[in-house]
Symmetry: C2
Subunit: 345 residues, 2 copies
C-alpha cells in the first residue's frame, strides 16, 4: 500500500528511481535524456497508470483558450451547422469549444453552470430572460435582443427578406404571405411589410401567420394559410425549418410547389437540398458567422482585459482581426444573406 490515490509525477519518479524532472523529460519526449532512463520512466508510468494532471499542466504552461457554445438544441439543423463551423474555426486557432445544448427546458442554469467554470468566453444565443451577467465575455449571434452580450454577430435579415421577395416578384408572384415566428412581428416580418408596401403589393392581417419555430409550426402555418381562402401564390417563411414544414403540409393538401404556391425560406440549411422540391432560400454563410464570432471573442479577450499573458495558443497568427466595432458601443460584425434559388420558388 504505497499509492492509494491518483499517482503523481513524484510517484513515477520514485518508482523509476529518478527525479521528477527526469520524468517530465521522458514523458514529454524532450532531449538530453538517456534512452535507457527514458524507457525505465515510461515503464514506471505505465505500471502506475500515471496520467499527468491537466490542471497542473495548464497552470504552468498557460491554459490556452476554451470557449463555450450555447445552443437551444443541436437537433435544430441551424445550430448543428453553426456548431460545426465554430468547432472547425476554433480548432484552427487551437482553441477548445465546449458544447452546451441548453435545450428548451427550464433547467438552463443547471446546464450553464458546469460550463461557466470551464470557459474563457461564451458564444451563442442566451436565453431570452437571462440577460444575467454570466461573468465571462459573451458574444451573441443573431440575437433578436440587441442589448444582449458584450459583442454581437449581426445578421442583416432585412436584406435577406428583400432578396427573397424581390426574387418572388421577379418570377411573377403577387400574393405573398409570410410565416413568422415569435409572439411579436420579427424584424424579418417588418421588412416583409415594408417591402410589400413599397412594391405596391397587397397585404392584410390575413397575409401573416405567427407560429412556433419548428417543423410542426410550419405545418400548422401552411394549414392556416390554406384554410383562409385568401389569394396566395407565394410564401416567405421566417426560416428554412418552417418553410420545409409548410411545403410538407402543402403537398399533403394537394398544392403543388412551386406551380401553385412558391415557397422561400431563410438560412440556407443543408436540409433544404434534401427535400423535394429543393428549397429556395435567403442563405447566410455560417462559416463567415463562425469566423466573425471568434474574431469578436478574440477582441474581447485580448482587448477588454489585459489577459493571456503567457498563453501559448497553437493555432498560429490570425491578425489583429479588425474588430469592426462601433465607435462607442459594443463591437459588432454584420453578415449579409444571399439568395439561393432552387426548385421551390
Amino acid at each position: 500500500m504505497t499509492t492509494p490515490r491518483t499517482p503523481t509525477i513524484l510517484d513515477v519518479a520514485r518508482e523509476a528511481g529518478v527525479s521528477r524532472q527526469t520524468v517530465t523529460r521522458a514523458l514529454n519526449d524532450m532531449a538530453d535524456i538517456a534512452p535507457a532512463t527514458r524507457e525505465r520512466v515510461v515503464a514506471a508510468a505505465q505500471l502506475l497508470g500515471y496520467r499527468p494532471n491537466r490542471a497542473a499542466q495548464s497552470l504552468v504552461k498557460g491554459s490556452g483558450t476554451t470557449i463555450g457554445l450555447l445552443v437551444e438544441s443541436l437537433r435544430n439543423p441551424y445550430y448543428a451547422e453553426l456548431a460545426s463551423e465554430l468547432s472547425r474555426a476554433a480548432a484552427a486557432r487551437g482553441w477548445g469549444l465546449i458544447l452546451c445544448d441548453v435545450g428548451y427546458g427550464t433547467d438552463r442554469d443547471a446546464r450553464l453552470s458546469p460550463l461557466l467554470r470551464r470557459v474563457d468566453a461564451l458564444v451563442g444565443c442566451l436565453p431570452a430572460g437571462a440577460t444575467a451577467d454570466v461573468g465571462v465575455p459573451f458574444v451573441s449571434i443573431d440575437n433578436p435582443d440587441e442589448t444582449v452580450g458584450d459583442a454581437t454577430v449581426w445578421i442583416d435579415h432585412e436584406a435577406g427578406v428583400r432578396a427573397a421577395l424581390a426574387h418572388l416578384v421577379a418570377t411573377g408572384r403577387r400574393s405573398i404571405a409570410m410565416i413568422d415566428s415569435g409572439p411579436e412581428p420579427s424584424t424579418r416580418c417588418l421588412a416583409y411589410r415594408a417591402f410589400l408596401a413599397e412594391a405596391g403589393l397587397p397585404w392584410s392581417e390575413q397575409s401573416e401567420v405567427r407560429v412556433e419555430e419548428s417543423h410542426d409550426g410550419g405545418i400548422a402555418a401552411a394549414a392556416q394559410l390554406l384554410g383562409r381562402g385568401i389569394a396566395l401564390d407565394a410564401v416567405l417563411a421566417f426560416n428554412d425549418v418552417l418553410a420545409i414544414g409548410a411545403m410538407k403540409e402543402m403537398a399533403r393538401a394537394g398544392k403543388r410547389v412551386p406551380e401553385d404556391v412558391a415557397v422561400v425560406g431563410m438560412d440556407g440549411l443543408d436540409v433544404g437540398a434534401l427535400v423535394t422540391p429543393e428549397l429556395t432560400t435567403a442563405a447566410t454563410d455560417r462559416g463567415v458567422i463562425a469566423a466573425a464570432a471568434l474574431d469578436l471573442v478574440d477582441a474581447l479577450l485580448t482587448g477588454d482585459r489585459p489577459r493571456a499573458s503567457r498563453e501559448r495558443d497553437t493555432g498560429g497568427p490570425h491578425g489583429a482581426a479588425a474588430p469592426g466595432a462601433e465607435a462607442g458601443g459594443r463591437p459588432r460584425r454584420t453578415v449579409e444573406p444571399y439568395l439561393v434559388a432552387r426548385g421551390s420558388a
Copy 2:
C-alpha cells in the same frame, strides 16, 4: 505602471488593502466577511479587470471531468443528434463536453491535438486508420472496427436489419434491394443477405449497390438500382441519409414511394419525419447511446486508473453504472434498434 500583466488575486488584495484569502471570500460569496470589506474587494477586482485563473482553480479544487466528442461532421444529422444527447448527458453529470468536428479532410491530427490536451477521455468515432493510441481512454460508438477503443457502445444492426426486412416482407414485398456503404459489405449488408436467404427471397449481386455515405450517394444508388431493370419493390438503406437520397431520386424518376417501391432507412433521424412520405426506419435511441457511452467513460475513468481522487463533480450520483463488460475483454454496451413504421414502407 504597477500591473502590466494579467492581474492575479494578489493584485486585487493589494488594491483592496486586504489579504488574498479575503479576496477569495469576497469573490466566492463565502460567509464570514464584512459587507464593507466585500464591497471594497469587489470594486478592486472590477477596477483591475480581475478574472480568476481557471487552471489554478482547477488545480486546487479538482478539475472535474471533461470529455471530448469526435464526429466526422455535425452537418451529418446523425452526429448532430448524437452530440445533442451527449451534451445533455454530460451536463447532467456536471461534465464538460468538448466538441471536435474532425471533418472528412486529412488534417485530422491538427484537429485532434488541441483536443487531447484538454480532455480526460474521448468518445466517438476514430478515423479508420488512426488506430493510434490517443493517450486517453477512448470509448468508440458504433465503430465498424471492433478493435478500436478501450470500450465500445455496440449497436446491434443485425437486429435492426431483421426488423426492417421483416416489416417489408409482412407488407408483401419480395424484391428487396440494399443500398450499402463502404468498400466492403457492411454488417448490415451481411445481415440482409442472411435474412433473404433464410426467408427464401431472391437475391443477386444486382440487388446491392455500394455508394458513398451521403445524400448524394443515396441519389446515385437509387439511380443505379432503377437503371438495372431488375424487379424491385423495396429498398433497405444503410442509413436514413442514404434512404432520403434514394427517395428523392425515385420521386425524380417518377417512382411512387411506397406504392411502387417501399423504402426503409436505419437510424431514426428527425429528418426522416420532414420528408414526404415520412421515412420508415430501424431507429436507435441516441439518448440511450449517449448514456451508455458516458457510463463506459465513467467506468474507464474510475476503474481503469485510480483517478479522480479529489474531483468534486456537481452532478450527483449516477450509480456504479453496471459496466456491462465482457469478462475478459473490453467493456461493451449494446443498443437495440427498433422499427418505426411511417409512410415510406
